[in-house]
Each structure stands twice: as structure tokens, then as C-alpha cells.
Subunit: 247 residues, 6 copies
């Protein structure tokens, strides 16, 4: 159930039986010579919609731009500063808490968002506890990184071994190929470097000249993408339902 395709009375009715909502969050950043700039948002959105279909959950609008400052030396990358993203999350959750939502399940497509999202949850709990609104001190947030699920991880290992790398990975590229088969890109790829270290934007580009971190996205194909999709939807749906069931 996509929030964007509901009316407010439909949301009001939904809230009578369920306080949960899924919020997909991605990033808009370079993904190497062949990966799409929207990769992280595309993946998070697709999986979130799949989970919404599977579980009947309300799915909010995708946050398309996250914390990707270290990618901003590559054209087309957009990033919020961490302090901005924290305010964005706070504003979303204050609004939705006033509506009556109490359980926020973030499906995240970008490793670089994790720290800031966790910081944002802490900041938001404190803000909500100060509001003159009943029950806002019981709000719960959960972060679900689809690419870190056990099944996804195993599949990536099985298909790509060490060539999975850690940025512009074949697994995420495969998933975007499954979703947008019309946007499959190719380019000659040299051996990718993986320094394992991320500092500022200029430093990132010095270490990883074409944007990849140790990955070989040429191994990706749409069929792989379909398998990643299915595994991710299944395990993320289970995680969402467990979150809802939790006291």
C-alpha cells in the first residue's frame, strides 16, 4: 500500500489496525562506470514495494538522497550533510507520529546512510518525547539494510565471491538491471581497488579513480537481480513482521 496512492481517510483507517510504516531510503551517487546513480534508491524502493505487497504495510515515499558526501567528487552525486539528514528524519517522524504512526521501518539501500540514520533516530526519540502528543515517547524505529541480510549476503558470496567488493557491487547492479533492463550499461573495467577506507570526497576519488571499491559489476545480470529481489523481499518482510509483533 503506497502512501502516495492513498487518501487521508484511507490512512486514517489503516492506522486503526496498524501503527507501522515502511520508509525506503536510498542515495543519489556514483556507482562506478556502469552502475546507475540512482542505484541505492532504486533498490530500496523496489524492495520496499515488494515488502508492502507481501505484508500489506503502508510504504511511504522513497528518500532519494542520503548521506553520500564522500562520493561528491564524481559528477551527478548529491548528498545531504549528516546534520541535514537528521533534521529531515526528525521532520518526517514528527509529522507521521502526529498522524498516529508509532513503528518506523526504514529499508535502506546505502551503507553511508547507516550512521546518520542511527544518530537521527536518537535525536528524534528525544524530540518526540518533548512534544505534547500522547504516545510519542513510545515511537520505535528500525533500520533494515537489504544488502546486509543473511540471504542476500550468501547469494552474493555464492555468485561473485570476492568480486562483490563494497561499492558498485554486482549484487546491487544486478538488482537495478532486473528493475530497469532498459538501462543496462557497459564499459571497460580495470581491476578495482578496495582501500577499505573512506575519508573525504577528494580522498575517495584519489583512492578509487573510477568509483568502485573492489567490485566487478560486469558479473551482474538481470536474472541474478531477480534472485536478489526475491531473497531480499522475503527476508525483509519477515523482519518487518517481527518488528511489528515486538512489544
Amino acid at each position: 500500500m503506497l502512501l502516495h496512492l492513498q487518501t487521508w481517510p484511507e490512512v486514517e483507517q489503516y492506522l486503526q489496525t496498524c501503527p507501522g510504516i515502511i520508509l525506503p531510503i536510498g542515495s543519489t551517487e556514483q556507482h562506478g562506470p556502469t552502475g546507475l546513480i540512482g542505484t541505492d534508491a532504486i533498490c530500496a524502493e523496489a524492495i520496499a514495494q515488494g515488502v508492502g505487497e507481501e505484508t500489506g504495510a503502508m510504504v511511504g515515499p522513497t528518500i532519494p538522497v542520503g548521506m553520500a558526501l564522500h562520493h561528491t567528487s564524481f559528477p551527478g552525486s548529491i548528498s545531504l550533510r549528516p546534520t541535514t539528514l537528521i533534521l529531515v528524519i526528525r521532520d518526517y517522524l514528527v509529522s507521521l507520529s502526529r498522524s498516529g504512526f508509532r513503528k518506523f521501518f526504514f529499508i535502506n539501500g546505502h551503507g553511508g546512510n547507516i550512521a546518520t540514520l542511527k544518530a537521527a533516530f536518537s535525536e528524534t526519540y528525544a524530540t518526540l518525547a518533548e512534544l505534547p502528543v500522547d504516545g510519542t515517547d513510545r515511537v520505535q524505529c528500525r533500520l533494515s539494510n537489504w544488502f546486509m541480510g543473511r540471504g542476500v549476503y550468501q547469494l552474493a558470496k555464492e555468485l561473485y565471491g570476492d568480486d562483490e567488493g563494497s561499492h558498485a557491487t554486482p549484487s546491487e547492479v544486478a538488482l537495478t538491471q532486473f528493475i530497469y533492463p532498459e538501462a543496462i550499461k557497459t564499459a571497460p573495467l580495470s581491476e578495482a581497488v578496495n582501500s577499505g577506507r573512506i575519508y573525504g570526497a577528494a580522498d575517495f576519488r584519489r583512492r578509487h579513480p573510477d568509483g568502485r571499491m573492489g567490485s566487478n559489476p560486469a558479473l551482474a545480470n538481470p536474472e541474478h537481480g531477480k534472485r536478489f529481489y526475491q531473497v531480499a523481499v522475503a527476508e525483509t518482510s519477515a523482519a518487518y513482521q517481527a518488528f511489528l509483533a515486538e512489544e
Copy 2:
């Protein structure tokens, strides 16, 4: 050309001939008993993509949540505070200016965003001028509100007269019906009130109990929507090209 479906080398190449980018911005807010919560984002995104096809412009990711604080007494509405939205715009434009973009054309679907966006442009020009990056003091932003274009205005007047109202209007509802025919909603609609005044969220709901402001969205249909789409894409494309051509 959707930024999300490009690679960074493709963006780099685009920038060699064109410094322009289109940024769609909508809102996630109640649109009366039958309007979709995502109406403003859906419309802005569809028109932006149409303009992108028409003009070859790069189209960035849609900003789905804007300034809708006055709607937050209705379930499902999400709003950024104006100060947050200003920081978001600043962060987008700082990132994209580093890439080399210099002309930012916002296609906006929500009246409530206008003031904050204009404030954000002013704030951002000042921030960019302080950056140690060449040419950032020549950045230009333009705000294009599709629903205020001359052709769109005339069509709405012709089709609906005073029943167009000013929130949850038949024109925007028609456009969403054209885009999402599977999500057409119906509900009994009383005469809508139009106080013409917008203050805080609680006040808004007192004045406009079902969320509409003087509109009769029951007049909308998908065929109307198609006409609005065509008119809006045509006049917004012309506006974008004039903006690019301007010194």
C-alpha cells in the same frame, strides 16, 4: 534523461554541453477525501519527465516531501519545516554545483513550497558564493509551478470554472488519474469551503474539515488529466529552454 538512470561518466559528458538540470519537487499531504496523498509529487515528477523527454534535459530525483505543515492535522501528511527544506535545497545545489551544474530548474507541484523555495534560493546563492569553487557565484535557480502556467490555468478555468478551488483541485486530481488510472478514488463530497486563509495545522482543519479548499475534484477525469499533462509539458519545456538560453 533521468539522473537516476545515468552513470557518472554519462553525467560528466552531459555537462560538457549543458549546465542545466531539472529538479521536480512535490509534497506528501492530504488532498481531500478523494485526492492522493502523493498528488503534488506525482504531478511534478510526471511533468518533469515529460519535459526531460521533450528537451533532453537531465532530470534529478523528485523531492517527494516539501513544506506542508498546515496539512499535518490530517493523517498521512508529511512536512519538512521551512528551515529544514532550505538546508536540503542548499545541500542539493552545493553537491550539484561541485559537479558543474549551474542552472537549476525546479518543477514544483505544491503552492506551499513556493515561499520556502525562494528563500532557499537566496540562502544558497550566498552559500555558493563563499565556496572555494569557480563559477558557483553564477548559479541560477528558476521556479516553475506547473499549475500556474498560463495554459494550465486557462484549461482549468474552461473545464471547471470556480470549482477548480485552491487545494485538492480537479486539475491536479485529473492529472493523477491520467498517470495512475488504477488509483482513482471516489467518496461523497459536500460543498467545499474556501476560506482563502492558511494559518497553522489545527486551524486549517477547523476551517477545511475534509481538507479541500473550495474545489470539486469529482469533476476530474483521466482524459482531462491527459490534456493538463500535454499543456503543462509544452509550456514548461518552453520555459526551461528559455531559462537555458538566458545569459
Copy 3:
């Protein structure tokens, strides 16, 4: 009734019959080779005091510096950033709401303030609704731009036609000449440019080298100024009283 010339018990008494206050806001910015830097504040203050005399309204202190970032490449211009001005407005209204004021009528002398003021009102309503103070969720703000009133507009058209322009206009210059006849300035004026576009400060000065936007302030005289004053006070007084009467 000037707030600055009252005692607190007098304010307390005023509040027993009227929750309204007028807040003049101007700007401190270049107004071309002959316009005063304080033009916008001088005009807003004079009209606000006239309205105060006419209607018995409490008139707060003039906010002399507004949002004029685009003028800051000319010496003597001062501007708040939009985010700063929003905080200033919030602080004023939080203070005065604690006193018991509920209806805030801003008499504005500067077009560049409009967007930020509207954003500030939205931000402030949300802040006030969170305060543990009764009735702050019913606060109302109204923006009255004296130079956009129907009568003022017609008079300017009648007296100056297209030479009114859009910055350093003869109408505002005339008004300052009426108020400060001792500070009438003259200088040779070339044909003024009016690009109609406002971006950053450096860009503004490139486009409008002497600061004017399409205006011929040499047409102004103090008698005109008196007429503008009278028309503006009359129509703004009516607007204030209608605002007070409104539920």
C-alpha cells in the same frame, strides 16, 4: 500606539480588548544612486505609524534589516540570511504570544522579504503549537505589502507608467522624500536596466550596475510621496481592521 512608548501595564490593558499588533519590517539596502539605503524601513515604519494612529493598533518596533542578500554587492547594504530571519520572526512571535498577542499584521516595505516571511510564518505556527501555552495554536499572521496595495499600484501607474520599474522605484523614493525632505538626493541617471531576474549578489550587480531595476526615481517628488502615504495608510488600515474582524 507605539509599543516602544508604552509601559507593560499599558500593554496588559490593551490586550484585554485587542489581540492585534502591527510589526513593520523593511530592509537596509542600496536603492540606486539617489534612493536612501533605509528606504524600505522608512516607508514601512511611516505607514505602520499612520495605520496605528488611524486604527488605535499597537505598533511594534520596526525590523530594519531584512532579506536583501542580492543587494550586498553594493556598499551599505545589510542582510539577514533567510534562516536567520526565520528565527528572528519566530523569537518575536513566541515572545509576543506569551504576552497574549494572537494576531500579527506585518507591514512590509521590501519585496525580497516576502518569501522568507511566509516561510517564517509556517515555521512559527509549528513552533507555537508545541509550546505549553494556551491558545498559541490559534495565532494568525498576515503579510501586508504596502507597495502592492491596489490604490498604491494605480497611483504609481498613473504617475510614472513603466518608469515605476521594480527596484528603487519613484513611488518609494517619493514616499521617503515626503518623510525626509531634508534627505532628497540627486544624481545623473542613465537609462535603467530591468532584467526582471534576481539571482546572487554578484550577478545582480553585473546586471544592474547602478542598483536600479528599470526605474526612474528622478520622477519622484515629496508631493507624490504624500499621496502615496495617504493611500497606503488608508488601504492598509482597512486591511488591518478586516484581519482583526476575521475569525
Copy 4:
């Protein structure tokens, strides 16, 4: 020379011989049963204009609202938060530094502003040093509290002894009576309390029920006010000139 009554070319010319500007700052706050709410702004402005006449200094617009949070339990008081006032000062000084001003002389009428102004100066020096503008790392600010000048202090002691108190003092009331003889207020005054301690707003009103701190403003008269004015203008003018002369 009032900045508000100059044109930008006049300011440009002034800057060729003098980098100094006077910025008056007051407050809008209760001053007991007979003191004007605008007392601190009125006094600072009058003295600043006197110093301007005496020394030929440029005098900027008066900042009428300062840091008076502890007075906000009394109707009519307005205060900026300290963090807001710091941003206001920063914005003023960034603007004026771009113009070429380098020496900022604040004539202050309110004890409650002192700490925040000093903090603002420190914050601003750091901000200015980061700007890509030559010479902004040599900006100097000076705080001149007219009521703490040696001559003013002695005169107050001579005229009122301990009845000077520390808020709503006869010296400042006398000065406003000299400036606004038409706005002299009277009211029965009990013995004033002077706890000497200032905490939050509610606490302040509990300790000082009518707003005064140990003062007897009934001793004030316009003739005293004239003497305070003359002494203050003389000693503040000397201080300004010494500041200008200082390396």
C-alpha cells in the same frame, strides 16, 4: 551620518576615508510601571545619533530587540534567543565587511545584551576569517555600554545614590523623558526589590513583581535626562575616536 539616509555611492565614498560604523543596539522589554518598553533602544539610538553628529561617524540602523528572555513574563517584552542574536550580528557584520567596513562600534543600551554580544563577536571573527574576502580577518568590534561610562555612572550616583538600582533606573528613564517628553508616565511605586539575581523569566517576575530591580524611577526628570545625554554623548564620542585611532 545615518546609514539609512545615505545612498550607496555616498557610503562608498565614506569608506574611502573611514572604515568605522556605529551600530546602536537596545531592547524591547518592560521597564517597570513607568518606564517605556522601548527604553533601551531609545537611549542607544539617541546617543548613537549624538555621537554620529559629534564625530561624523556613519550610524547604522538601531537593533531594537535584543536578549531579554528574563523579561518575557511581562506583557510587551520581546526577546531574541542568544543563538538567534549571534546569527543576527554575524549576518550584519558579514554584509558590512563585504562593503569594506572594518571597525564596528556597538552602542548598547541593555545590560542583558552584553554577554551575547561578546559571544557574537567571537563567533563572527571566526566566520569572517573563513570568508574569501581580503581583510576580513582584521575586523574589530567594540562594545560601548553608555550606562556604564564613568561620567554617566558618577552622575547617576550623584543624582540618585542607591535609588539608581539596576533595572528601570531613573537615569535611563530620565533620558527617555528628555527624548520623548510627551511620553512621561506616572504610577504609584512601592519600594523596589533588588535581588541582584537573574534566572529565568518566571523566576524574574516572582522576585520583581512590578519589573523594577531596586530602582526609583520617580526621581527622574527630563532635565536630568538632558545631562545624561550630554555626558554620554561626550564620553562615547571619545571612546569611538580612540577605537578608530587604535591600530
Copy 5:
């Protein structure tokens, strides 16, 4: 080498051969019925000083209060908001980068700090890159959580097994007992709950009524503490030296 016990010429000399500095960061928060409120700061500081002795590194002042909002329903806990802590880190690193430091090694004693510190590093890299100071775009930060080192983890497992828990653990309590043998506390301890979940402060206290998360700190003793100290200093020293050696 403790920064606090150096003079500025000594720091200047140190910087000629080494750009690295260690910054210990802890927290001030409840640690169950027997754990010290300063536990996390005490441990981080002691280990940092040990590493400083081992490696000759400069050791900055301990940041004693971190991100512990979820503990603030227990008396004596102090927390910064995440957005505040990000500004604190930014300010430290801007200051020290101006001095010439380029490699910042944070020895952290509190799991709750991790997300905010990582967000702070990202924010700070972007801020530093905008400063007009050479080399600030090459600054590197590293986070070293002493309690997550391999050797520490193995020792805790060996000594306590599952009774290590995840807050108010016997390992950290043992370390404080080694450092402050005069401050060993005892109290009757029931079986500890470990929900594994952390939301807001009120929720935390509902789930973990005495503050512990699944730990049995009664197993701690000073001799264990000494072993933890030695292991942690050894492995953290190695990590610091590897960080320095890294390009």
C-alpha cells in the same frame, strides 16, 4: 604525551614529525546498580593514556559526555544530542587542523557514540574541505572502540561468557575497578534483562529497570581489569600505529 601538559611550542615541535593525535571519548551515563557513571570516559581515558605512553602519541583531552540520550531516564546521566556532538567534533577538528594535525584517532568507550561519531566525521570532512587552509582536505579520522578489539572480546568471552551482556558489562566494570580500586561498588543484582533493542529513554528504563543489559558485573574484579587494560592498550597501540603508517 598529554596535550594538556604541553606548551604550544612543544606542540609545534611535535607536529614537525607527526600529524597524529589521539582523542579519547567516553560518556557520562548510568552503568547499572554497581557501575560508575563515568565508566566509559574513565576507560577511554586510561587506555588512551596507555597508548600515548606506548607510542609517543599526543593525547588530547577526554570528551567526557557523549551520545547517551537513551540513558537519561536514570539520574546522573548526561547526554549531548547527536547534532550537538557533531558540532563539537567539527569544532575540535577545525581547531586542530589549523594547528597542523591531520590524523585523528578516536579511542571510544561507548557504543552509543559510534553512529554519531561516524556521522560527525563525514560532516567534518566536508567542512574542512571548504576552509581556506592547505591540506585540510586530506584529514583522516579513525574510530577505535576499545571494547570491540579482538583480544578484549576474547578475554571477555573467556572470563564471563554470556554474562558479559551489552551494557554495564563486567569487562568495563573490571577496568574501572583496576583504575579506581577505591570506588568499587556492590549491590544485590537480579537476573539482567537484555532486550537487545534501544529506543527512547523512557522505553529503555521500562525494558531495563536497573540499567543493565544482560550483564553480570558482579563477576568483575580489579585483576581482570588489569588484563583488559593490557590487552586493550596493546591492540589499540598497534591500530594507532597502523593508522599513522597508512597513506
Copy 6:
């Protein structure tokens, strides 16, 4: 009683009889060629602990870094911006007010902190008054600058006369020598300059090339330090007890 060495139940018990807490605050900044960078924090902490022993007060963790922007042209100096320090103080006091503390006694070792701390107190009172927590509108803060106590002042005058100066003074250096006799530094000292003026960091270093302001720290010795310690602890203890006793 050091907060860091207590458990939360011990703090809970303390609060049943006393709402007071001492918060030491120093700075991390250059203190001339022979003064320790930690001087201000070391002194504040030692005296605070002495007062804690004398009076039984709870002593919180030392804030080691304060407002020292003007010292940041010397290596090793760290400073918070004033706006950051205000947020830090606000966060500390919000946390501790939730615990039940109501009287905050800051023992300060650095003149540069005074203005920002006072501004922070004002900001915090306003924030606390808006919290939904009983009694937070009665919170009181007191600033106690050990080096400005009457006894300390007289002793410094007696021992050093004008050679006390105003930064890197022999009195504070003597106190650190008493506390850390192992860290006594010597260096050839020229005549110190004392401009008496503090502007930005670059300006400070131009005026005071070795960091001292008119002081001769070579006069210091540990025996003097002991006397300063005793006088400061005695008079600060009395001030704390008077503060507690005050309504």
C-alpha cells in the same frame, strides 16, 4: 563526590537532600611559552574537586574545551564556537534537570568562557521552561570564576603586582605547578605585551607573539600554587554554599 565515581542509585539518593551540582569548565589553549595548554581545565577541575571535598557537593565531569577561538592561531589550542558551547550547556542542563538537579554551579577557569556561558544560561532557562518537566522553570545557574575571587585577586597582586598580566598569568601557572609539579616548564621570556584588546585569532597572534598578555609566569612556583589553591577552594566553597542557601 565525583559524579563519575557514583552509581545512579547513589545519585538518586543524593538528590533527595540536595539539588546542587558543580560543573567545572576550563579551556584547551596556549598559555604562553611555559604555560600548559590544559591550564584552565586543570585549575577549574582541581578547585572543583577541592570544593566538592569541602562541601560534600556532587562534582560533574570537567568540560575541558571552551570558547578560545582567539587562541587558535597557536598550535594545540582547541575551541568550540560560542553557538556550539551554548548547545553543549543546554544539553548538559536538560539532562541533569530531568534527573532532578536544579542548582548548577559552574567553576570556570577561563575568562573567554564567561560571555558564552552567560548567554548559554539565558538560552537554557528558556528551553527548560518549555519542557514538559515539573520545576524546570526554577533552575538556577551560577558562574564562579575562581581567578576573580577577592582573595585570589589580592594574593596575585601581593605576589606579582602588575606582572600578573591577563593571560598566562603567574597565578594560574603556579596553580598548575602545584597540581603537576612534574610538568613545570621553563623558557626564556621576553617582556610581555598587553594590548588589552582581543579580536580574532590572527590578530591576537600579531599582537601577542608568544601568547602571553602582559604576564611574567616565571615568577610562579608550586608553593604559590598551593596558596592559590587554598584561597580559591575556601572562597569558592563559601560561594557555593551561599548559592545553595539562596531561595
